[in-house]
Homo-oligomer: 175 residues x 6
């Protein structure tokens, strides 16, 4: 049995993420999805809470039939890079390899002797959380950038309204 | 659709926990299991990591056929009681009620207007994590206090050896 | 008896703040003034310490005759938005409503069922902390932007000198 | 104008505290009351929140006529002793001397060249927070150990019920 | 070139520590001494600051002629066991093996594939920090339990007086 | 005996730092070098770990013959400016004066009555960590900006490769 780990912020989960998840599922029995910056929410960078992000991904996994093969784990930031992979290893079940397109993530895990696989993001300039959030702020269409099931979830929790609202004060409690 | 939340440290998951989980599943569509003190591990009070605790509970859920109905979420301590329920609500998907036998947990959630249900622990003096850990230290039998599937998992990760080893220096890095 | 809560950083307390305070006092028996980012000081964004900010506001309240009706409470940041209102509720006496012009603050408190009142800042582009601090750095006049009593306090603690000095190394210990 | 600083946890504010406060007021123009362990509440050691403690002391100050002479400031713990006086000095307005009966507090402030005054607690074995809390748990009378106004406040917020409830699970979220 | 790592709290550095240091120096070119619980001081468990502990060990190293072969590094606690070895590896120069008599320390480093060497403490019940601190409190002789140079340092910084003073209020800011 | 304190991030240690170190050594018996932002590493601002920075400076000190006169201490950030000098004083041995070219550092230490000496950086626009790191990213020559011994160390640990790699994802775990 093998497990692949994939960490992202998923603000929101988009088609680029889906592409990677499918790839990992095709190469492993199970996938662990780590939800990064789990402590952050209601900010312009991280509008959704970790709980909402879990639900969004579970909804999709249920529809696509891989719910039993996915383990979703929120991972709070630690702001001490060298130590971050140890926190990840503490919070998630044992895994065989880390998939990432982020050189820092790859370097940090290599540092602890973990097997890493460099992924190529598809259409990186389109399928990107910040692109989607900016489209929402400027009132552009973004529906086709995320899976249909995710779009429904985001509509239900008022994702668009929340982002637009936060954008009015650039999302800081003490602006 | 309703969800019940149940938080514990699960060091390890025992028959008392199983009793509660079954009860919650009989009254709700889904159960959220919050893994408390998620940041702690390799200590006498919390020998297992959060990742191991996720795996232990998933193994059992898979065997008992409720894997699709359970959401397992590690919850790091915050040491600021008033604020703790807000952290829980941030990290887990929306839920309808909290089940707990701990008066502090009940009081804190009531404080935020969350619906709470007081549970009665069965055989509290036998089915208790600290009782099991102490039996292991003193070499007594503990197999019957946990579900068979959990026992197998604990054997596989060396739970007994870890506890006995930690007991030699009372589990502090700077003793 | 009713109480209104108003949170700001007050770097420094200016005429825009005064306008809001008067409004809240006209609608409530008491006002709680929460001093945000209380842990920060000697930075370009937060030159004054929380202690100095308490004193600045007390001086004014004494002069204007509302000292017995104001409760001033420093509130350290928590960098976990969902959890921040719980910390505020922990640190300040019970209140009936929150007054804010910040959409994030309003959203977070609404989330916990607290009554919120959206305030309109008067002359937002003039009465603003950052505007005042920048005027000081560039040597412009700023006296008329703050209450006379506040101006006297700021002169006494060397507010101008401190800001100008911090501006030389952009206010970071490890620049 | 002189100010004296007095720090305590005030769980609850009792006659011993009142004695000290009167002494400090007789020797200074103003008193700063620092509320220690401000982040803790709903625990057996700290049942009241910082906000409740502020209100309790204000009620008394109002009744006794020294409200305009008292500055009440919550002080969260830092768990780094050497650094704690610096945090206190950051959070409270300038003061002239610290009054304390705690040798550690005296030593730490002396370390930074602050003037300290060693106080003698009156009837230390009777007027003590833990004594009062234990009396409540064991159902003994405690009314005479606190000022009448404080007693009324504690009745109003359900102090006795909270302590008795917390005592049932020794006041830990993850017992 | 090889380096051995040895971590302790050194409250104070005693003959048992010296025995280990000599052993490590005989087997390695250099020794890294990690000062554990570096953030704690002025407490009954950790009376000396990290800075004082550095100086105490340097004084001895200078006298005994191994100053050029020792690297002394303060290591603040992290209260997240799995992550602690990563913090140690971040703070100290590369090393070849860890020497420890603490099973938890050994287990945590083994977890990351670091080579560990189990040491046997000599006269563990005599050469122990807590024994020395208790002897000081009860006024017993302790001079022979530490190297002469360390004793001189401790006399100079007032180690005995500090411990006796802290013992009067059991060393907590908010007792 | 006098000691001068000098704090920097040393990413990397360059000729400007060396100039200051020589000056301090000429005026004092010993120098304490505080390694700022010690908890950060593998970021674009702080590529080297604290451990590597210790080794880099020790290598140089050994070669230049002042190893016995230097005390190198990592200092983790605290993000609470008023409190930062207290943390420094806790972590390093007693010193007589602080040398700094940073107005904030000078102001904070003055605040606690510590003697400060304002240094003039030589060739500030050339000898600067960020300049060197940017030269590496853009493939320019930087060898002459650091001492030869430092250059050798940085080659050995792969400083250039690390920076170039981090630059590809701007060095954030959750970009």
């Amino acid at each position: 049995m093998t497990r692949g780990l994939f960490i992202g912020r998923f603000q929101p989960f988009h088609n680029g993420h889906l592409h990677v998840v499918k790839e990992i599922l095709s190469e492993n029995d199970e996938i662990i999805i780590g939800i990064g910056s789990a402590q952050d929410s209601f900010s312009l960078k991280n509008p959704l809470t970790a709980g909402e992000r879990i639900e969004m991904i579970r909804d999709l996994a249920k529809e696509m039939g891989f719910l039993e093969r996915v383990i979703i784990v929120p991972i709070p930031d630690i702001h001490e890079n060298m130590v971050w992979p140890a926190r990840v290893m503490e919070l998630v079940p044992k895994f065989d390899r880390v998939y990432s397109g982020n050189e820092l993530v790859l370097a940090l895990f290599e540092n602890f002797g973990v097997k890493t696989i460099r992924i190529k993001h598809v259409n990186r300039y389109i399928y990107q959380g910040s692109v989607i959030r900016n489209k929402i702020i400027s009132g552009e269409d973004w529906k086709d950038l995320v899976p249909e099931k995710v779009y429904q979830f985001l509509k239900r929790v008022g994702f668009e309204e929340r982002i637009k609202r936060l954008a009015r004060n650039n999302g800081e409690v003490n602006k």
